[in-house]
Symmetry: D2
Subunit: 303 residues, 4 copies
């Protein structure tokens, strides 16, 4: 071997050492996160364009910031329709993917994403998959930890049943009905409404949980109330905010609203326009889920 | 440009044309499935090592083969413990991933995977993700379409409620209780048991649905039966096969079995050792789900 | 069955029909893109913070907009360091993930992502995986089609060899050397530099292609020039822009610059500070790749 | 709250504790691998149906088993055509996905997958993605670490150049040509052949590297040999086994074989029917890559 060849091989050798440290970056990928640890919170709601609904979100925002004063928290809305409406009035809200892409670009390595949905339906499962895609993405976020929606584990169901009973209007008499309006979905998680109702009814037989778009439908609740001879019912949203559904589909004057249908069936109604996110009893369940997510999301925590 | 250079560039040009057809294979990947269409069915159960349980699986197998006589159907078990037990007695059962890897290697391009689970819990969601990974895998399966478990949509819940009422033992008197034993889970889909119970109770107040590992627990059902003054209850599995749980946790003589606990509380018991997969009323729900999956799984069907 | 029960089952039946159309949205996911088709272009460069480098990017931008006047085109930079530098001077540039998340939120369903890199190294492969994650993401982009970097297929290599020979400075004499400076990488695609050199040397024995961070290193090129008795060499960037590497590592006065090292070895140097993106001969290769990507990215084009 | 209700809430409370440990299994998934650590090796070759080629694979098998006597090692072939041919003669070979699915079912948690390909082309990149899918799959393999193909880093290129020079036939005279036949591909990694040739030619100007399906094509090598006035060339495979390509496309009597084309151009040929996997000088590069992969694949090794 001549001298020139030796030089060439020594140079090549230098490359080996550099390579040994960097090889996995391209050979395997995705798990190479040399960024310093930086933890953040992303709060994700369906969203609402009603100014009245903002009180509920602000309540959550303040509770979260009080619980995690040192961790930056930002918001994303899953509803494109709501985001587009708000954009027209000059308020830019991120989609979950936009928020996560921005947090990745800003160097966040650990993000707890708290779902502010009521049930783990399509929106929640979409969030899980969006999170997973950001974990897998080069330059993404090493650890994106989902916090569960309001009604998830049986422990949540028990707490939510308790919260419902605690937040019933003081004026309601025991022989008056309660009809909570959940959103409802074609996703199997729709069953959580009937399951919650079964548990609440163990303690108060006159509380019903129905939905706008799933099962049980208003007609079945009306039928049940009539069978019990109940002539007055309180209509209350089982949604985080008292938005469009609460104001129109529940308490509106249109003939398809719950109010109109209950009254057409001879049941007098009282309406409560307050979302679950306005009550600490419910918000605490979400914040407990966020605390759980934050614990799993700590740098060096083994998943 | 000299003649030799022209030859070289003409040769290079030939490569361009070949490339234009193959480029996406490496530039984009995963979607390149030049194999001819070949459709198959994969039936996935938790599994059972009890010979008595095989009747239930054979019933499903025959019903599926009668419904799709031209489509090859094979089985996989999700439980590694069951597979290991069976392997010791010389019966090799595939995991879902093994079955899909084999079907991919055998040239299947479209596979309907029918979950024979009762609820869309962890096992079902794992199957969804396994399916997705095989769709994304080079040399995988272009389209893997999941069929839903027994209790998924509200339509399933209504059909299952009907099936429960239809398959109650003829000898049971109306004032005797029914306690169905589901498996139960920490997954939110555990709520489907209470939701199903709420619906069944609309028609028969004395039918209860409990679980071994979730909510409602046996104690709560015993308490409810006692409150109603019911002194006899029929214990029946709400599981596809009457396997270990039905024989031991439900009908066994151990002091923690439902039978022992019910009797210790002063409730006489009758036990039924037949899984839901032994009744057409339930099997038809699964097979309807498979039919739905097969429709979506047709070659050239746009997802 | 009583009348009330019939009503209840009819209501449940209505849900079935709704479900049949929406089921795959949650059962399968990811492929459900009901948005109307909207096609866009994303141009992705490593980026540069030098104002002088902008000429090269503007040249590409104008060429692309002339080729696709009806398709919105935007930019992203892959280098976080460059993005952070630009942000300090008030210029916000997106990361590829930020740009794609924004395009998804803006309703784009088909996006051609043109890599403006020189070789398909780590940066390009990262882009492929980012694209794939956006295709898999709920609410993502149905089809994200990558356009290849400058040097990819053998046809590109042949065109690039031609482009190098065409863009050599008119003043350079045939017996003077040319040393092109590529970036270089520990990724195997680093081999493209030597492969390109082998092809260029078929027509001009005195043209060399070296790298800053890979192989061949400057020392080997100096050695080869000396062995051939060449005493003058033209240093030219084989990078899209004449940025930091060209100005400092190649043409700088520091003792480790190519200029200094060549001169220390007794080879006089001339330097050319013009990136490949400033020459149509190279830009046309990238734009051809974009045209190819756009063809595959058309709505209803079968991948 | 009555006593019965207290009992109910205490029972629900018990579920909370169980849940806190298992929640991430369904909320996040994929990273939950409670199986005990078990490490294995998977050797992946394109495959060959020729009995003569088995010598090369056996050589690798023995070298690997000597290097890792305590780690079970098994094989998979990427070519479906080869697997189908072998199956007809009763020899069942797994696809990579089948082997990984089986290893997952057998409890392997850490698998080093050594690619026995020559370049990181489509087959290698497919393996990377298959590995990634098994890492993401529930019940999959916690860590699947790829080992690089023969020619990957510049260090490999330097070692391979050396190995080529070491394994040239002793009878070959310095003024006789060498034409190595690589497979070639439309993938950009095809450039590795020309890059390797450039480096080998730094030390032996008469060694050429061509391909069957890529660039450089035989015609260009013949042209170069003629230009140098070389009238004898040794044809040798630059493939792991001397299989179909070596026996037919290189050394065959058909008019399109290299042998026929070289001789038609007036160059006498000698043929060597031995794959690179039969020489320690090459096998050591693959085994070094496997050693590197095994280091990264150790349980508790942080990726």
């Amino acid at each position: 071997m001549k001298q020139k060849q030796w030089i060439q091989f020594l140079l090549a050798g230098a490359v080996v050492f550099l390579f040994l440290f960097s090889a996995q970056a391209w050979g395997h990928g995705g798990h190479h996160h040399p960024k310093p640890d930086k933890t953040g919170i992303l709060l994700v709601a369906f969203g609402s364009s009603l100014p009245e609904a903002q009180a509920a979100f602000e309540h959550i925002d303040q509770t979260v910031k009080a619980a995690f004063p040192d961790t930056p928290a930002q918001w994303a809305y899953t509803s494109r329709i709501i985001r587009d409406k708000l954009a027209k009035s000059g308020k830019e809200l991120d989609s979950p993917a936009e928020a996560l892409a921005e947090m990745a670009a800003d160097g966040f390595t650990h993000v707890a994403v708290q779902s502010l949905h009521t049930i783990p339906g399509k929106e929640y499962h979409d969030l899980v998959r969006i999170a997973k895609n950001f974990e897998q993405m080069p330059g993404g976020i090493a650890h994106v930890q989902l916090g569960l929606p309001l009604l998830s584990t049986q422990a949540d169901m028990a707490k939510a049943a308790e919260a419902i009973l605690e937040t019933l209007p003081a004026e309601r008499k025991k022989d008056e009905g309660i009809a909570l309006m959940g959103h409802g979905t074609h996703h199997p998680s729709n069953a959580l409404y009937a399951a919650l109702m079964w548990q609440v009814q163990l303690r108060d037989k006159n509380v019903f949980v129905g939905t706008v778009e799933g099962y049980p439908e208003a007609g079945l609740i009306i039928e049940q109330l009539k069978a019990k001879g109940i002539d007055t019912a309180w209509l209350m949203p089982m949604m985080s905010v008292a938005g469009d559904h609460a104001r129109n589909d529940m308490a509106g004057e249109g003939q398809d609203s719950w109010k109109s249908r209950f009254e057409a069936a001879g049941i007098e109604t009282e309406t409560v326009l307050k979302g679950t996110a306005e009550y600490d009893a419910f918000v605490d369940i979400w914040v407990d889920h966020l605390k759980e997510a934050m614990k799993k999301c700590r740098p060096h925590h083994h998943k």
